[in-house]
Amino acid sequence: MRRRGLSRRDVLKGSTAIAASVFASPIAAAAPEPSSITPALIEAARKEGKIVWYTSVDLPVAEKIARAFEVKFSGVAARVERSGAERVFQRIGQEYGSRIHAVDVVNSSDAAHFIVWKRDGWLAPFVPEDVARHYPPEHKDPDGTFATWRAWLSVIGYNTKLVKPEEAPKSFADLLDPKWVGKIVKAHPSYSGTILTATYQMARDLGWDYFEKLAKQRVMQVQSSADPPKKLALGERAIMADGNEYNLFLLKESGQPVEIVYPTEGTPLIVGPNGVFRDAPNPNAARLFQSWMFTNEAQQLMVEIGGLRSFHALVKEKPGRKPLREIKLMKDDPVAVERESEAIKARYTQYFRV
């Protein structure tokens, strides 16, 4: 194993104190000129023939987006490499440590990863036209290496066949009620960036003793934040303590007996940026993919079929889903997540034993 990766993290620990926010680098902003999708770019991408996208978004959603891209730009195959954000991060670190450059474009549900990749100089500065024109400044890197491709919430959910709406929990605190012992499923911050981010926000706002108590509820521990919604739909557990809002949207809209609860304490907001790697094996296809992913068309598709939320100014929220502005959110803080991720995972393992 690469000791290099370790020392990098060690160095990081000392240096992150000066970093303010992920999107407000203290270094002078030097984003390149915005790029549009030109016939020359498409032609160059076709020559490369494929693009590899590492992502942590739920697999069926990722594959649908990839297929839509392939339909739009025939001759460029989009391959999805999906696993939990923390495993994506570990994998890229492991691969780059061995000088394996397999990834073209990355999307992670742990925005903190982009701080590390950018600092290591692994990301290419590249600003798609849509990002420059339609995205709020707090959702794009001043140096142009990444922008928020998707956003979603980590919510509470329940199975409507097993729990009546009036009995359903309204808050995180409600989950500590003894009646939910053995009925809760939750995902794991060592695998899922969504859960790592949410765990940070909740520990900050609710205190670690919330998790200490939750661990005593005999929760079923799964890995990905996409899994708890599926366990709810199967009827395996009645309640999910955390997990993807977008999976619940999709399951609910396909007629499955699941319902979303936005906890009264506030709901953790997760942002998932997209970035192009400097050493991408298919640089042109990567830029084409990145550009397309931020278009109104792709973003609307992501919202419609993925249940995700977009910061693109022109994208409309889907009727029937609770608009983001109506939800009380917990504040996201990738810099702090980056700083504390190891401590969060260690403490979590201490309470939940895995």
Partner: protein, 572 residues
């Protein structure tokens, strides 16, 4: 030495290439096995600056988060060992020594559970016995009217994990016991009978003592399998909230990776395996007569009378667990909209199949990689096993014992430990193989070598060495004799070995999980990833496809006469 004057009919002198070839093989083998193990030891005993330390072990022993998995692993391994013997030994006896009907079918079905990837079985048992959504628990509630809170089985528990591991470890004991029983000459029992021993006396005083070493060896093998298994614990133990040693080692590679702790945690596993294998060797070695082949009379079959149908029922009830129920659950999930619902017109869908084959972009690559690795690992592994088996069976070089040791040593390396060792070895100069299929190929060849070697070596032993000597004295070189005489006689053994490496490779997970990259993903890893995000239906489709390929290969191997199922497959 003068070789200058060949006599009348002597063939012209030729250079004998065999010695350099053998030395080359030995060298490759050394690198294959010694390199990863030395890196493991190095990492286990050094700190980050490379200085010698015992701190890694100190940290392991002081931390309950490491001690607990070790204890749990021992509990699992011992329980599985005991359960397997209690279940598989009687079944082995029924099949080998009684007139129970459908004995061949039972053998075939056990064979099927033998080749079923254990991680696939674990996923299937999630579908069956998850406490709330499990099909069996649903059926239980529907039949008894029990409240929705009640459940009969909870697969996400220590007993649940032990059960699932036992299901797919049982065949190892079965094969050992039934083979041993097959090989006990009927004469031995007849001799007891003629001296006045009744069936029960004969069983107690002759048959059981003769087969006991095989049962004990089976218990040890089951123990080792359970101890080194990765897939099933990863799927079932984590939701239940505990780790085993293998999942713990795996989690040590999560960001930030702690390879020195992973190495240190691997070493006790390695040590324990070595000790247990020595024990197995001692047990089987001393009482080796029980499995000696040779000319012998057919065993007499015990007449069970009406009990034979009861015996058959016993076997089929046991086979429900590794075969019928899981396969049914996988089929159900593959064609269902909701995996936890029983297939019905309203629930039927082909979407899962469409998803796996047309939407899932990793499928094609994983299939290609798996197939490529299966074919090449099987070919290379067979060649290796062939050459080493030859050298040791014929004692063709002076240090053949060292070669034999090297070829069987991987048995003592749990897949996950090998994975860690290979990663440490081949992700740095001078051998940067990580990220290529080569590193997986090395892992698979190394893992399959002991079983392949054992099989081919015994095949060599069955070909009398004088057959080769006869060819050489008439003028054939060693390699020519091997090609012209031995190879044709070994053909069936060679093909069978090839098939079994192939099957073993496509179900291997524990080493692959440490070594894959996105470009070198294999089907077993793809299934594991799909399990992480809860895509059970997609797993079912992929799993069924894997089983179909596996059975096609096994049936091919079984069509070859002279092949018997006594091959040890590695854990996955």
């Amino acid at each position: 030495m003068s070789v200058a004057s060949p006599a009348r009919t002597a063939r012209p002198a030729r250079i004998d290439f065999s010695q350099p070839v053998l030395i080359a093989f030995a060298a490759v083998l050394c690198v294959l096995i010694a390199l990863p193990l030395s890196w493991l030891v190095y990492f286990g005993f050094t700190d980050r600056t490379g200085a010698f330390t015992l701190e890694n072990f100190g940290r392991l022993l002081a931390d309950p988060a490491f001690v607990e998995p070790l204890l749990i692993t021992l509990v699992i391994a011992i329980s599985v060992g005991v359960i397997c013997c209690l279940v598989a030994a009687p079944m082995g006896w029924l099949v080998a020594r009684t007139d129970m009907p459908f004995r061949r079918t039972v053998r075939m079905l056990v064979m099927a559970s033998f080749v079923t990837p254990p991680f696939l079985g674990a996923v299937a048992w999630e579908l069956l016995a998850a406490p709330n959504s499990g099909l069996l628990n649903q059926a239980y509630r529907a039949l008894t009217g029990a409240s929705p809170d009640r459940h009969l089985f909870d697969i996400y528990s220590l007993p649940g994990l032990i059960f699932v591991i036992a299901c797919y470890t049982m065949p190892y004991v079965f094969v050992l016991v039934s083979n041993a029983l097959d090989r006990i000459p009927g004469d031995l029992e007849d001799a007891s009978a003629i001296l006045g021993g009744r069936t029960a006396d004969t069983a107690r005083r002759v048959t059981i003592p003769l087969v006991l070493p095989a049962v004990l060896a089976g218990a040890l093998v089951a123990f080792l399998q359970a101890m080194t298994l990765f897939g099933s614990p990863a799927i079932l133990a984590i939701p239940a909230g505990f780790h085993t040693m293998t999942t713990k080692i795996w989690s040590l590679f999560h960001y930030p990776p702690k390879p020195e702790l992973a190495a240190a945690a691997s070493l006790p596993l390695l040590l324990l395996t070595v000790v247990l294998l020595r024990a197995e060797h001692a047990i089987l070695g001393r009482r080796g007569y029980s499995v000696v082949g040779g000319r012998q009379s057919d065993p007499r079959l015990v007449r069970l009378g009406a009990l034979k149908w009861l015996a058959l029922a016993f076997c089929f009830v046991l086979l429900l667990n590794p075969i019928f129920l899981p396969y049914g659950a996988l089929l159900n999930a593959a064609f269902s909209r909701v995996a936890s619902q029983v297939l019905s017109p309203g629930n039927f869908t082909l979407h899962n199949i469409e998803f796996v084959f047309f939407e899932l972009s990793a499928t094609k690559l994983a299939l290609k990689n798996t197939f490529l690795l299966g074919v090449s690992a099987a070919t290379i592994g067979t060649v290796f096993a062939l050459v080493i088996g030859y050298v040791t069976a014929r004692k063709a070089v002076t240090h053949w014992r060292a070669l034999e040791f090297l070829a069987t040593a991987p048995v003592a390396i749990p897949g996950i430990v090998l994975g860690v060792g290979l990663f440490l070895s081949y992700s740095r100069a001078p051998f940067i193989l990580y990220g290529t299929l080569w590193i997986l190929l090395i892992a698979f060849v190394t893992i399959s070598l002991p079983a392949a070697y054992q099989q081919l070596q015994s095949a060599f032993r069955s070909v009398h060495s004088e057959l080769e000597d006869a060819s050489r004295i008439l003028g054939a070189t060693r390699l020519r004799a091997l090609a012209g005489i031995t190879a044709p006689l070994l053909r069936t053994g060679v093909i069978a070995t090839w098939c079994f490496i192939f099957v073993g490779v496509i179900r291997e997970l524990s080493a692959a999980i440490m070594l894959f990259t996105s470009e070198t993903k294999v089907v077993s890893v793809l299934i594991f990833d799909l399990n992480e995000s809860g895509d059970l239906a997609a797993i079912s489709v992929l799993g069924i496809m894997m089983l179909v390929i596996t059975f096609a290969v096994v049936i091919l191997a079984n069509r070859i006469p002279g092949f018997s199922g006594g091959v040890r497959l590695r854990d996955a």
